[in-house]
Amino acid sequence: MAAGAGDGRSGNGDDGDERPLAGIRVFELSIAIAGPTCGRYLAHFGADVIKVESRRNPDPVRVIGSSWVPLDDPSIGEARPDTSPMINEFSAGKRSIGVDLKSEGGREAARRLLATCDVFLTNYSGPAVKELGLDYEGARAIRPDIVYLAMHAFGAIEGSPYYDYVAWGPNQAPLTGLDDLTGYPDEPPAAIAAFGYPDYSSGIYGVIAATAALEWRDRTGDGQLVDLSQFEATVSLLGPFLVDHERTNATPARMGNRLPWTAPEGVYPCRGDDRWVAISADSEDAWCALAHVAGHPEWETDARFAGVSARVANHDALDEAIASWTRAHTHDEVATWLQAAGVAAGPVMDPPAILADVHVADRGFWLVGEHARLGPDLVTGNPVCLHATPGWIDRAGPSLGQDNAEVLGSVCGYSDDEQAALVEAGAVFPLASPDLQLRRPYRAWAPAALPHLPWGSP
């Protein structure tokens, strides 16, 4: 089912852009995930986000390209990074220009672009933007009311202890205590290793900070520096534990999937290989319902499980009892039965299960955007649904330099000859192999196998 009007998801660019950030232009000097995630939200909600990129020092999420693109095919060459599905994920809806900010011509182009921008967004380090002349002082000399969003790993206060330090999102998770809290008590920290949680949370903090600063600009006319230290922003998520330590010297320990205030809470083995169901029976009603669904009404009167404190204290025995039931069934069966009885439960889903899931697709979560080399391309959606002025994208991740002509011409005011001279001088990186068209292998089978996903016109 296609998403319908008023569901917070549908929208198109045909008849006047009603999105909240339409008319806002963003200079994005960002790599990897945190800064680009912020820019992706802003683009989804209507901002003209221009990703300023270098081919000499490219965004690491581009570098590897797609796994199916041969590494040594000379016909693909420098276009390989454009095929990375990650550039869709973190930059869908943006425009890209290739500019060498270390060249004089590139710096002039950046200055001309910045003069037309409302927001400057960077997750480069403080010293790096300063070296480019694009720190806050440099930027506001060009655009006095700029909203300058500095998403450095350790903030914008020069001389502070970690100011010069380098950290990716997966470095913030250990630093802020999130990794130590992840895992089972009798094992080393399992860490949030497979994805960079702090990158995404910092990116959304960036959206909040940028829109709040735009609100301030609307009220007062003033731009400002917004210093969003990813370290500090991530630490803010741990408020209660830090207050607890401050007051009682308690240090929270990892406890698997358990919570101190409810039981049962955990994942339980199901039929099949590495199949699990997550169960959170977070009230007496839910616990009794679980006992009945499991065919063990006697659990209700079992002294070990009488009341939440007893269940928390006897969680091992509780887990064993529940697992003896779940093992005989599939995770989908157990989750569906429990949900029907009012108990929070869900299968632990892997990517094939998520792609097959009808609920998420039915809500119009997945997006499709036009990719310059690949045609319509599937992209992970945005979780913020505005019903009257929904966000949308019309394009997937841009190829490096895809929008050089439009941005350098219409926005920065360079003539065609001047643009050619910038390319000649190495100040602008042109789109690689402009005529190269490729096709993701899955386009051959996935639209038929997964018809509930949006595929666009082939």
Binding site: L21, P85, M86, P170, F195, A213, P252, V384
Partner: protein, 385 residues
């Protein structure tokens, strides 16, 4: 200095999946009025406690006002409607249909108040086959692909961040962002709207690295790989003498700096072989690269590895606990911590601003006692038209 949201009134009916959103709005200057049922919000029951005070509540409730109201009671029902009539934003986390049954849903309250912004946070959203499903932080992670890939291969999948409620925090961040975006739309159109957040989708949106779309492209199964990431080496946790450090050698310069350090300390010349400058070579030799790296990291304390590694330009950070953070020199030096005077706990030190504005203000305040503002807020609300 006034905050960018000063003058904005928010009515807060949020549980754990949006209470942080309204704290963020409050600290940006909005007046946030928590409407608590008789006896208090369920947030007041979340451990850890000091005495009878929930520390979750002390943090989530910060800078808010408290009004105690029984929405099912006719007279109080009317007062609630009057309160909402004065509000710009309502934030709520009720199950689909709960407020509607009391005739207090969005459709009931926006009549005569077309500029009202209504933020709804639910486990699975307000549409679709699972819209009535019950949820939790764990269930949201389970149904996002992120739980499947977190943990050691021989153990069951394990929730990111343990008891820190990180799925709820994502939903809260999205709710706050959505409220601000809707506010901007309202400035342009004069109309409010429904802002809908699904906690499951909040987790799906952070799943790209382990997620469904990229899987479709590479068809590589996503498995739990413990505390290191299989895609690159070195990447993940490495043992120090007194704990662990996180090490992410993503750029070529990071590996070359690390290799130099390994050679200096361990005398292992093999690590300095330029062949390993190529990330694909390192991935192919993951086991050896891990052993060489461990031969370095196990010789030092995590604090030394942090400072010396960073001096060498390597993205290395210690695996910290709350105790480490409470004495972190950077947080101290930048004035991160704030002190508020909690009505039951007295002066407590709390995390400060997640962002620092150079012109507009940010400030926080303690969480209120139950019903502390019932009379002041409700006494002279204008009657409904």
């Amino acid at each position: 200095v006034t905050g960018p949201l000063s003058g904005l009134r928010v009515v807060d009916l949020a549980g754990p999946s949006a209470a942080y959103a309204t704290k963020l709005l409050a600290d940006l200057g909005a007046e946030v009025i928590m409407v608590e049922p008789p006896g208090g919000s369920s947030l007041r029951t979340l451990p850890p406690f000091e005495g009878d005070t929930s520390l979750w509540f002390a943090y989530f409730g910060a800078n808010k006002r408290s009004v105690e109201l029984q929405l099912a009671d006719d007279a109080q029902h009317e007062r609630f409607k009057r309160l909402v009539a004065t509000a710009d934003v309502v934030v709520e986390t009720n199950r689909h249909g709960t407020l509607e049954r009391l005739a207090l849903g969005y459709d009931d309250l926006r009549a005569g108040h077309p500029d009202l912004i209504w933020v709804s946070v639910t486990p699975f959203g307000r549409t679709g086959p699972h819209r009535d499903w019950h949820g939790s932080d764990l269930v949201a992670w389970a149904m996002s692909g992120c739980l499947h890939t977190t943990g050691f291969p021989a153990s069951p999948p394990v929730i990111p961040g343990g008891p820190a409620l990180l799925a709820c925090h994502l939903a809260s961040l999205n709710a706050a962002a959505g409220a601000l975006l809707a506010l901007r739309s309202r400035r342009r159109t004069g109309r409010g709207q429904m802002v809908e957040i699904s906690i499951q989708e909040s987790c799906l949106a952070v799943s790209p690295e382990v997620g469904a779309v990229v899987f479709l492209d590479d068809l590589r199964p996503r498995m739990r790989a413990g505390n290191r990431r299989s895609a690159i080496r070195p990447w993940g946790l490495y043992p120090a003498r007194d704990g662990w450090v996180g090490l992410v050698a993503l750029q070529p310069s990071h590996w070359s700096a690390l290799a130099t350090w390994i050679v200096e300390v361990t005398g292992n010349e093999a690590a300095g072989d330029p062949a390993f400058d190529d990330v694909l070579t390192r991935i192919g030799a993951s086991e050896a690269v891990d052993i060489w790296t461990e031969e370095l990291t196990t010789r030092f304390d995590k604090a030394h590895l942090f400072v010396e590694g960073q001096r060498r330009g390597i993205p290395v950070t210690p695996v910290n606990t709350a105790a480490d953070l409470s004495t972190d020199p950077h947080l101290e030096a930048v004035g991160y911590w704030e002190t508020v005077d909690d009505p039951t706990l007295g002066k407590i030190r709390v995390p400060g601003a997640p962002y620092r504005f150079s012109r507009s203000g940010w400030s926080t305040a303690p969480a209120p006692l139950l019903g502390a503002d019932t009379e002041t807020v409700l006494s002279d609300l204008p009657p409904l038209p």
